[in-house]
Structure formats: structure tokens, C-alpha cells
């Protein structure tokens, strides 16, 4: 990120950046940077709080008034603690981890089961972040389960290789279930959502199974895939 600021400014375009990892910005020294005390993924701090977001944005834009740089300032206001768990959010019960039903079938049922909550999310928010793969959920779930179970089906989109398509399918499936679970009563923290997803859903099980399959792959794209689909804190310790 800091590199972009340097290159653009060098070409005559003024920049300011939000910094999430202060130690990096101290080294890279972009022209103007505002370090914010928020978790990775939330550069403006708080969703659904336009006033909070604007306060952060204003502080960043105010650095354009400085006469010289590089400038690195700290934003003083913390976001409400996202680690505080809301007891009103009940981890959705998953009855999908029955061993006698195939992973593909359990995944299909899971998508079906959560569709109504996902639809509620879309209705409430007027948008969805699902859709990067360009595949419908049933197709991408079947594609992912097949690879997780040892199959080798080709990418449903001939322009996008199988490894890249699996990465996009993981994104869409995870986003679908996060959005669905987030639409249920109560407010889930990112930690609660992750715990539920990686320990109780068939989607999480399928992705970890895929990870086990590709982590020692001799194919460089599949090997790369293994490093991109499970967050580090959820990689199995026996892996």
C-alpha cells in the first residue's frame, strides 16, 4: 500500500493512506498516512456507522493540509471492541456433520438450509458480497466438495483455472454463510462467526478437507491455494 503512495506521488498525484500495521508504515514512509487502531479488514473502523467512518476519513484527508512529509499520524479513537461477544447471537445449530451422508450432499443441504437467512440479508442490506466466482452456489459447492473428496473436476469456467476457481468458490461459500448467519437475531462478532464456520459447518469441513488434499500438492497453483483458503488460526494443528 505504501509503495502505491510513493509511486503516485512521484508522478505528481497527492495521496493519503490509511495504515493498519503501523510498523510497516514506519519503514515504507509513504507521503501521508493515518494509522488507525482497527482490526485488519476494517480500515474505517465500524460498519453501519457513517459518522464514525467520516471522522476517520476527515482525519486522513486533513493530512493534505500539511506543508511537508512524510507524515504518519495516529488516529486516537478506538472502535467499539469487536471481541465483546453478544450473548443474543446464538451460534446456528448445524445438523450437517453426520458421517453417513456424503460431504457433497451435506454441503448441498447446508446451502439450502441457510438460503432463507441469506435472502433476508440481501433484502435488509440491498446487496451481497457473494458472486466473485460467477457460479451459482449449488455449482460451486459441488465443485468444491468434489475436489475436497479427491476428485479432479475441471473448472466450470474455462477462462479461470481450477485452483483459482476453488479459491473464488471458497470466498463465495464463506461469504454466503457469514451473511446468512449475520442476518440471524443478535449481533455476531467476527470471532463468533469464524468459530461457528470453522468448527460447525460442512462448508468449513469441506474447505479444511480441501486444504489437507492440496497442501502437499506438486502443482504450484494448488500448493498456493493451500496457503489461501484457511485463516492461519484455523489451520489444523496436526496439519
Amino acid at each position: 500500500m505504501g509503495g502505491l503512495g510513493h509511486f503516485l506521488e512521484d508522478e505528481g498525484v497527492p495521496t493519503v493512506q490509511i495504515s493498519l500495521v503501523r510498523e510497516h508504515t514506519e519503514i515504507i514512509k509513504p507521503p501521508r498516512a493515518l494509522w488507525v487502531p482497527f482490526i485488519l479488514g476494517r480500515p474505517l473502523g465500524v460498519p453501519d456507522d457513517g459518522d464514525f467512518q467520516k471522522r476517520v476519513l476527515r482525519s486522513a484527508l486533513a493530512l493534505f493540509d500539511r506543508a511537508a512529509g512524510p507524515v504518519l499520524e495516529d488516529y486516537p479513537e478506538e472502535a467499539p471492541d469487536v471481541a465483546v461477544e453478544d450473548e443474543g447471537w446464538v451460534c446456528p445449530i448445524s445438523f450437517n456433520r453426520e458421517e453417513d451422508v456424503s460431504l457433497a450432499e451435506r454441503l448441498r443441504r447446508e446451502v439450502q438450509q441457510y438460503r432463507t437467512w441469506y435472502d433476508l440479508h440481501v433484502e435488509k442490506r440491498g446487496r451481497t458480497s457473494v458472486g466473485v466466482s460467477g457460479l451459482d452456489l449449488e455449482t460451486l459447492a459441488a465443485f468444491l466438495a468434489d475436489h475436497a473428496e479427491g476428485g479432479d473436476p475441471p473448472s466450470p469456467n474455462p477462462d479461470v483455472g481450477a485452483a483459482r476457481m476453488l479459491r473464488l468458490s471458497v470466498d463465495d461459500l464463506r461469504t454466503f454463510l457469514f451473511e446468512a448467519a449475520g442476518a440471524q437475531p443478535g449481533t455476531a462478532t467476527p470471532k463468533q462467526l469464524n468459530e461457528w464456520f470453522w468448527t460447525a459447518t460442512s462448508a468449513g469441513e469441506a474447505i479444511i478437507k480441501l486444504w489437507r488434499r492440496v497442501k502437499d500438492s506438486s502443482d504450484k497453483d494448488f500448493k498456493r491455494l493451500s496457503m489461501l483458503i484457511v485463516p492461519r488460526e484455523w489451520v489444523p494443528k496436526d496439519g
Binding site: 509503495g3 502505491l4 495521496t15 507521503p31 461469504t175
Partner: protein
């Protein structure tokens, strides 16, 4: 959060060892008062409009996000799974504050909002983006942009 010491233990070494290039010189361009500036967003969240060609692994190209893109068409396909996405799923403005900029333009806090915004895939090494970034500078100037907000995830 986020100082390195605050990150989950599993992710700390990876973040700590991420490439941090240093550069000769400290370019710093002056400009008009904020209320007269035209602002564009450049995100490194791997954002794209729905239906656009997905980013390749280690992509060094960018995606255009026209300023009139409906929120329902802005999606995120960053290759990393090690950061929170639930905030973006709730409210895209948390990482791509297009609506906030429009409000600030309407209130006269900034001059205007650019017609085009851009996203890169943030996991790509910064030096691989140099050529594209320098090219993009010309496009931004063509859109009369004199303030870029760079937003990572």
C-alpha cells in the same frame, strides 16, 4: 489493534515478515485546499465490479470501479483469508467509502468525487505494482484527481 503485538499469534510472523520496501526520496505534492480537491479511492482489497474478470494470483493489474457503481455490484476477491470480511459484508463503506465521500462533497468538505476509482490485489509485492501505479497516475490526472485515499484491508 493493530500493532503487531495485538495480532493473533498465528498470523504475527507472517505480517511481521511481509515485504516492506524502502524508497529513495520523499515525494510530496502540494495542492489546493481540501474543499477544492477532487478525491478518488484506491483500495488494495481486491475489489471489483460483479461480473468482471477475477484477479489472478499475484495480479499486478487493477480493476476500475466507476463512481456510479451500485453498492450491490461491488464485491471483494482478495486472495488472503486472514482478515475480517464481515464488516465489508455489512457495509462496503468500511473499506470503500464511496458514499461517505459523496456526503462530504455534498456538504462542501471536499470539492468533488472522482468518476473512477480503482482496486489492486493487495497481496501482490508493492514493487510489482510500480509500472501499473505510474500508468494509473496519468489516468487520475486525466480525471482531474488531486487527492487519492489509499485504503488497505
Amino acid at each position: 489493534m493493530v500493532r503487531l503485538a495485538d495480532l493473533p499469534e498465528e498470523g504475527r510472523p507472517h505480517i511481521a515478515n511481509a515485504p516492506c520496501p524502502t524508497y529513495e526520496g520523499n515525494p510530496f505534492v502540494a495542492g489546493p485546499p481540501l474543499a477544492e480537491r477532487r478525491v478518488a479511492i484506491i483500495s488494495t482489497a481486491g475489489l471489483q465490479c460483479r461480473g468482471y474478470r477475477p484477479y489472478a494470483f499475484d495480479a499486478d493489474d487493477y480493476r476500475i470501479i466507476p463512481g456510479d457503481t451500485p453498492p450491490s455490484d461491488i464485491v471483494m476477491s482478495h486472495i488472503s483469508s486472514n482478515y475480517d470480511r464481515s464488516g465489508f459484508q455489512q457495509d462496503y463503506n468500511i473499506a470503500f467509502p464511496l458514499y461517505r465521500l459523496r456526503e462530504m462533497a455534498a456538504d462542501g468538505e471536499i470539492g468533488s468525487v472522482a468518476d473512477y476509482h480503482y482496486s489492486f490485489m493487495g497481496s501482490t509485492h508493492p514493487d510489482q505494482l510500480e509500472g501499473t501505479a505510474r500508468h494509473l497516475a496519468g489516468l487520475l490526472k486525466g480525471d482531474q484527481v488531486d487527492a487519492v485515499v489509499l485504503l488497505p484491508v
